[in-house]
Symmetry: C2
Subunit: 650 residues, 2 copies
């Protein structure tokens, strides 16, 4: 029975909790004991008698006898198998043994068991941890198997382990960092999306920085050994604060918990710990399952989770979902798009604050009644900045003449209605024109625009505002006055596989707007390109080139960079800013998700060896585009040469 119900809309799998069991030929009894009595949702159980060896089996002339599987699809129907059993592949297999017989037996058994699991429609099988760091033959076999699997996931069991003292000298040793084992295995298996991870959590946890990496990897289950648990004052199992934090992270990333091991806490019968749940629906057999207190503790942690804030709940469906960035200059936005973005009150409040401050600065109180400030909203859309400007004027008692310049003729229709509806006819002039070509009847004190994309300049704000600068007074100002893009390297298996699934170069050379969730941020962000408005330099040029060096934390261990997360921060006016760069992000603003620049070939980075990255903003006569590459630790290709795959039309 699930651990609990999360906020509506959360489809995470983490509300199910499983239990690892020994081989049992009587599967119905196994399920009845663990599920009906124990309260678990599923059982991770061996499918095959562990004494079976194909080479012995053949020798005994058993050609006609059946393989020693636990149960069949007549004993339990496929839907029961599928919803309650995760197949545990025989743990004796060793595909990289020096012993050829053992190696061949292992391959035969692995293929037989997975074929059987697939026949039963199991959702997943748990693969034993590779016995050596050198696991090429195991990976080769799994890769062959994955090629033919359609629905089933394979969970590779990986101990959550990293030696603290991971100096350069010991890096060739086996298993100083289990992430390396995972990384080799999945690279050999071509990064296939059906290969995922079951993390074996023990009582000692590696550094917080090294744990971060796993949240960018496809972890589907965390196996909690009973040895992880401490004992609370009343004798019940509980977890350390660090373990609790980790489990909370797992819950938030749809990772299922599996309890494993022998019961180590003798809980008095009938005296349930008040801190843990007891739904009362297990009367009759609850006392019989000795792992139940662990499940109850996990359920307690689950139910203690903070509810998701409304905005997060709204964005759940967008998590790790790749979207093409808007091209509002080349394409005209639709009403629905305007509608959505206009609801971002936090954003317009910031604009209104910036405009108010600018009005006060430009017009002293004593001249408020004589000076009329000319404000032009360039890219007015359906008018939200017109409204913010008028409210700022009212708030500050300044006189304001507003020009609302908009190139989308459909939005202009709405603007006219709005002006009429609100009675703004005297203060607002609507101009149906591209700001780059408009011949303004007078010059402006203030240009207000909202042309920024997730990466700041990626919707061509610089080019548009350069065009509008002609009709700004010599001492006029622009809101925003500047903006900067930021990037950071990330691990994100999910997004990498989604990009790869298109099987072409174009998708690897495209930037995506995406609500990043299953992502490991490997280093703090760094600024990339900055644009300032107005820009008076005679060599004004919107091409940019930036070289960046990222260092991953020394205790993180190595990590795989699948690409770069991009953000922006904009200064609207003086200290009033607006943006999504994580360390200074404007709270409760929802207009922008981050941007993601993928790498065609993921790059493995190591502590102490910087990741050197280059980003270019290139400008042609018809389009603007980015190119990017890595030069250290090893050079990549320059991505998106000449904007061949991804560009923004001028």
């Amino acid at each position: 029975m699930p651990l609990g119900e999360r906020s509506p809309g959360d489809k995470g799998e983490s509300r199910y909790c499983g239990v690892e069991s020994e081989f049992d030929g009587d599967v119905p009894r196994l399920l009845s004991f663990n599920i009906s009595c124990g309260g678990f949702d599923f059982v991770v159980s061996p499918l095959m008698n562990p004494t079976y060896r194909p080479s012995l089996f053949e020798k005994e002339g058993n050609e006609s006898s059946v393989l020693p599987f636990a149960g069949s699809d007549l004993i339990l129907n496929p839907s029961q198998w599928s919803s309650h059993v995760v197949g545990k592949i025989s743990s004796w297999i060793d595909l990289d043994s020096e012993d050829e017989i053992l190696r061949l037996d292992s391959e035969t058994t692995l293929k037989q068991e997975i074929a059987w699991a697939s026949h039963l429609s199991l959702q997943a099988c748990l693969l034993p941890t590779p016995r050596q760091a050198s696991c090429a033959n195991y990976a080769r076999c799994i890769n062959q198997i994955l090629q033919g699997l359609t629905n089933m996931q394979l969970w590779l069991r990986i101990p959550l382990f990293k030696a603290e003292d991971d100096s350069m000298g010991t890096s060739t040793d086996d298993m100083t960092d289990s992430w390396e084992l995972w990384n080799s295995f999945r690279l050999l298996c071509e990064h296939r999306s059906q290969l995922s991870i079951a993390l074996d959590v023990s009582s000692t946890l590696p550094s917080a920085n090294s744990l971060v990496r796993w949240f960018g990897e496809p972890v589907k289950a965390a196996i909690l050994n009973t040895e992880c648990f401490l004992t609370n004052a009343r004798g019940y199992p509980c977890l350390s604060k660090r373990h609790q934090k980790l489990i909370t992270g797992f819950f938030n990333h749809s990772v299922q918990i599996v309890i494993s091991g022998k019961p180590l806490h003798k809980v008095l019968k009938g005296s349930a710990d008040p801190a843990t749940m007891d739904n009362g629906d297990n009367v009759g057999c609850v006392q019989n399952h000795s792992l139940r207190p662990y499940l109850e503790y996990v359920g307690y942690l689950y139910q203690r989770l903070d509810p998701l804030p409304e905005q997060e709940r709204f964005e759940l469906g967008y998590r790790d979902f790749l979207q093409s960035p808007l091209q509002p200059l080349m394409d005209n936005l639709e009403a629905q798009t305007y509608e959505t973005f206009e609801k971002d009150t936090v954003k317009y409040t910031q604009y209104q604050r910036a405009i108010s401050q600018a009005l006060i600065d430009r017009v002293p109180d004593e001249k408020a009644s004589v000076i009329t400030t000319v404000l032009m909203v360039v890219g007015a859309g359906r008018g939200p900045l017109v409204r913010a400007s008028l409210q700022a004027a009212e708030e500050t008692g300044r006189k304001l003449k507003v020009y609302a310049v908009e190139k989308n003729p459909n939005a202009v229709v709405t603007l006219h209605s709005l002006v009429k509806l609100e009675g703004w006819e005297n203060s607002v002039t609507i101009v149906s024109c591209d700001m780059r070509h408009w011949v303004a009847p007078q010059k402006a004190d203030i240009l207000v625009s909202e042309l920024l994309g997730s990466f700041g300049d990626n919707e061509l704000s610089p080019e548009c505002l350069d065009g509008a600068q002609r009709f700004l007074k010599q001492d006029g100002l622009s809101i925003p006055s500047s903006y900067t893009s930021f990037i950071q390297p990330v691990t994100t298996s999910k997004l990498y596989n989604d990009v790869k699934s298109h099987k072409d170069l174009v998708h690897f050379e495209t930037a995506y707007v995406v609500k990043l969730h299953s992502v490991a941020r490997l280093a703090p962000t760094q600024p990339v390109f900055t644009f300032t408005h107005p820009e008076d330099s005679p060599q004004r040029n919107n091409q940019r080139y930036k070289k960046l060096q990222f260092e991953i934390p020394s205790d993180m261990g190595s990590a795989l960079v699948h690409g770069f997360a991009g953000y922006f921060d904009a200064t609207l006016y003086k200290d009033i800013h607006l943006g999504i760069e994580p360390s200074v992000a404007t709270p409760n603003m929802f207009s922008w998700f981050p941007i993601f620049f993928p790498l065609r070939t993921p790059v493995c980075v190591h502590p102490g060896s910087p990741l050197e990255v280059h980003f270019w903003r290139c400008v042609g006569s018809m389009k603007v585009w980015y190119e990017w590459c890595v030069t250290s630790p090893s050079p990549s290709a320059v991505h998106n040469s000449n904007g061949r795959s991804y560009w923004v039309g001028l």
Copy 2:
């Protein structure tokens, strides 16, 4: 005028020699001096006045004036430009300068000059050496340019330099090994085939092992500075033995020589060195070109080259040309194919020697007249092994009964004609049958077969001979008695680009038969799979798995592995072998070219850090295939999983 004529059929470009010159606005005079008078074939010359800077040019308001190019297509027609001039891009450019103005000027100039060279249909432009090891912006620009170039080659000028003491600690310094610079540049440029190398040769040469690498790279020109030259007893320029050897290597790999620098040898006028060529066709102005003695010395080296052996000449057209391996089991060979292979007398001589030795060993002299040996040629084709067997019998005076088993019904027709023609009716029985299914009327003393491919077992000799083993006597023997495949890691830009040009995965997961020429062999070969016949083990199994570790020489420097060259060696009988493994290859045999296994992503290897490679031979019910991968220094994908791209039909 060319340095000389090589053997017919050699289309190498290396018979042309160029000269590097300063900027000269008068191109006809420049060509007349260097080509008509100097005797050179082409001039490497700047196209643009070296004082030109775009930013200054614009400032001077020269919008309407022409760019300061040397000459135009009216002064010299395009075919003259194309055949006599290699454009030398302005050497002041620095695209990775910290100075933004210089960087932008450099980009503008680079693009203007290459556009101009392309307009003139030049065959190549010489790009200046990157000024820093960090050359991402330069590479990005060249990559953009290459995307639009159709015919012109760009030669990146790279000094032939490697510090001797290249310990791990100094490897991050700039330019301890100029190969690293090239490698970064071409990886950033996506390995494009129009980007090639002009090596700047100086008086000091790096280690022989480090030079090897360049023969797998696209070196198109070697620029010999006059400072490279020594002075012979008569005051004429000459080269050290090591330089001579290098130049010979260049000649054999179609690398053109370019003479550069100031004349440093004052050769007495009119007293041509007898050791050098003097064709006498330069009367009138020969004395005026002070670099002529260097050209004459290079011509002397060229003419001194050993002529190509006949077999090499025959194989010229196959050099570095990818072919799909034959599938003689699944497909029936054509008459032309039989015809070609039957001409390999060396091969059949080895077989005849092996059969003779076996006959003598099995039948003592005293029983030669009473014992008839039963020999079965399995896969008799059009009969060359039948002939070799009968000749061996005659040579040794043994009595022989031959069965010629052949599954190709077309070849069987030819076999019948042959037997009739030669009058072999009494000793030869022709069997039209697949050896795997034949029910033999008696058992054989000797099985003779020629079922080997370039990689030994890759034409399924093991599977065929396993099928034939049924009708071999208990003490019978097989010729060949065993065979082993070998691989070694290679650099081969040419083949990598040819594979890549197909733009699909299938071609990167296919093995090719190829006459390897522009290849750098990075480490000695190592054995992979061995098969022995007859094989009596009850666990007989033709699946194989081999893990190999290659170390590149410590003084080689780093190198890029594009894939693996494969070979075989077969023991026919006792010490009589036959094969193409380079260290023991049978001389003058032409039936097999090596095999090439590509890597989807080339792997950079470093001395002291082994390259770990895995090869599998997998056997299914309908096909046999190989899988392969690299696990160190970084894991690759397992190639050709389940034989999805490349397999041999059973």
